[in-house]
Symmetry: C2
């Protein structure tokens, strides 16, 4: 391994905040949110909670007080137009368009490499485009601490204080406090652990030592690349080749040639876990509310839409008639929808596809997507 | 009361079958079948059972072996075009178009009056356009007997052998056998009774003396008019005025002037019940299967559509994906519909309105119609 070429910035050479650059990876179709979310209109392009903003716009706005317009976006080539409409502030050179999905290692790694090539002093923060967070102030305070902790030479993750024994998230085991100026909450990370069983999740919750891993990373770009180079040299070589061509006329040609050759690996395996083993990872425990809006039950829970009796309506509420019913209606058509005597129902009404399920079966919606794929109905996926 | 002007035909002057004329009243929106059935496209214009025929076409075809083209149709002015498309055989002079709904007394009474004016010897048979009957042969055999019984000077109803203690139908209490050539099943009628309570319905079923009143009447037109004149003289005067002008150039003008003035009354009260009290009504008990397709539970029961696992699909079955679900999907759109983990559901999918309910709540669909009416959404009713 040869890491000498990576410039490690001098700590304290600049205010850490001035070194911050936000990265927003916007990927993931959200198959459990079909038919609302689909290949052509993924989850992050929707206003799933009735807030008035799409998830990606809300993500940008939440970061803006910290990053200003220093935001780099990584998304699928197909979403270019929709993303530019949502985020007109993002300049062309800060928009990385994937010609095919390559998992988070390549997406976040390339972002790190581009930012490193421009300025090796940069501290990047990566925040997925499809999460619901509130209040923004608590999030910003946590990221603020994470930036200061990153400036001390750490890859910093934000650990969400668990509100229940979820078996759907990975966990971070928190270690001892770190002494970092500007980051009173910083702790070492003992380990990252995979999605647990219900029994184990209960133990995690009871112990108080575990936080949810929301997949947020704040880190000096050089340190990210150091671990990437050590663990995934082929991926490292590929993203560095693209990065060196990025701010030149060869950007598109090199990206289109190299991107398809990159290995597929999650950033957790490529960087976070090996870095934790090396003692290079810190965590800022935070207690803002956080949700990855994984299914329609989550939408029902998170939505600020007012309820028509016991039915939550996302869309044009005035068109829904309910009688002795409960559940959620998500609609992007102009149809009248009547629910009569049906409980805990989930109705998702789109122009070319309709889903009817229950809250309890929300997780199984991905089966419908798999089934329709098997039937060759990719036109509605 | 003056009934002398009504010519009573001489029994046996012609073969009763040659005197037969079918009348099909096609009315009733079927609000419990919303949003499939609605003001602009009522129940009788749909193929609710997947038979390949609309209910009105099936009604015509079922009568045709007895009546030939001697069929008179009474329907709403708004349905003229749709009805003519379904029944191109029906001549203009046999199509009575109601400018506003006036209940069955006016509709069937006017049919009787028109047929009487043309030929006082006529035996009419009135059969609603929105019922599902099988097998046709048993129905035809019962009507055949009813025609012979009518020729003996009776108003003849067809009593359906009850298969369960329905509280949704009226009943006919059967009396003693009648001796009528060509009608071995003919009986007197003791009385018509209204929809009973469940307890009473159980008693009716157990006694064997009661049959369902399917609202079918076969009768000499003169006898129908005799009772109408005796019980509803204003209605009688009105329909006779229209009838006298019917086969003249004044048909439309007189109908449009007089029809709105006719009293609203059901034929049961205007004719059948008083005629029964006078001993003028007979019944042919019959055991063909009969259903008025009152709600979506009935459609699920009657439909010949094949089931996709436990879901019956009326419409294009190939577009419905089901996983661990049961119930019925009625669709007249081209949308993909996915049901996931939902039981006994009723989904009715139309271009501008969607209904989601359960089989058990099928009867309450009329509440949605009432609710939408209250909200001013008559565009989808």
């Amino acid at each position: 391994m040869n890491t000498e070429n990576l410039v490690q910035p001098q700590s304290g050479s600049t205010d850490p905040l001035d070194r911050f650059y936000a990265v927003i990876p916007a990927g993931g179709v959200g198959t459990r949110l079909w038919p609302l979310s689909r290949a052509a209109a993924p989850k992050f392009l929707h206003d799933l909670t009735g807030s008035g903003s799409t998830l990606i716009r809300a993500t940008y706005d939440r970061l803006e007080p910290l990053s200003g317009t220093k935001v780099l976006l990584v998304t699928g080539d197909a979403h270019r137009e929709a993303v530019c409409r949502q985020l007109p502030e993002v300049a062309d050179e800060n928009l990385v368009l994937e010609t095919e999905p390559k998992d988070s290692g390549a997406a976040i790694g390339l972002a790190a490499a581009i930012l490193y090539t421009r300025n090796p002093d940069t501290i990047m923060g990566s925040f997925a485009a499809d999460q619901v967070i509130s209040p923004d102030e608590k999030f910003q305070a946590a990221v603020h601490e994470a930036i200061y902790t990153a400036a001390s030479g750490k890859i910093v993750t934000i650990g969400i204080k668990p509100t229940h024994a979820s078996t759907g998230f990975g966990y971070i085991r928190t270690g001892s406090p770190l002494v970092v100026a500007g980051a009173p909450s910083a702790h070492t990370v003992e380990e990252f652990v995979e999605k647990p069983s219900e029994e184990i999740a209960e133990q995690y919750l009871a112990s108080g030592d575990y936080n949810w891993n929301a997949g947020m990373f704040v880190a000096p770009v050089g340190l990210m690349l150091h671990h990437l180079q050590a663990n995934e040299p082929a991926l490292y070589d590929g993203i560095m080749e693209i990065a060196r061509a990025w701010d030149t006329p060869d950007r598109i040609a090199v990206k289109n040639r190299v991107w398809p050759t990159l290995p597929k690996i999650a950033i957790d395996y490529a960087v976070a876990e090996p870095a934790a083993d090396a003692g290079d990872v810190a965590v800022i425990p935070a207690d803002f509310s956080w949700d990855d809006v994984g299914d329609f039950a989550a939408i029902a829970r998170l939505s600020s839409a007012k309820e028509d009796k016991n039915v939550k309506v996302i869309g044009e509420g005035g068109r829904v008639f309910t009688d002795d019913s409960s559940g959620i209606v998500v609609t992007d058509t102009t149809r009248v929808i009547a629910l009569i005597g049906i409980q805990d129902v989930v109705v998702v009404d789109t122009p070319d596809a309709l889903l009817v399920t229950t809250r309890a079966h929300s997780q199984l919606v991905k089966n419908a997507v798999a089934g329709l794929k098997a039937q060759g109905r990719t036109d509605v996926l």
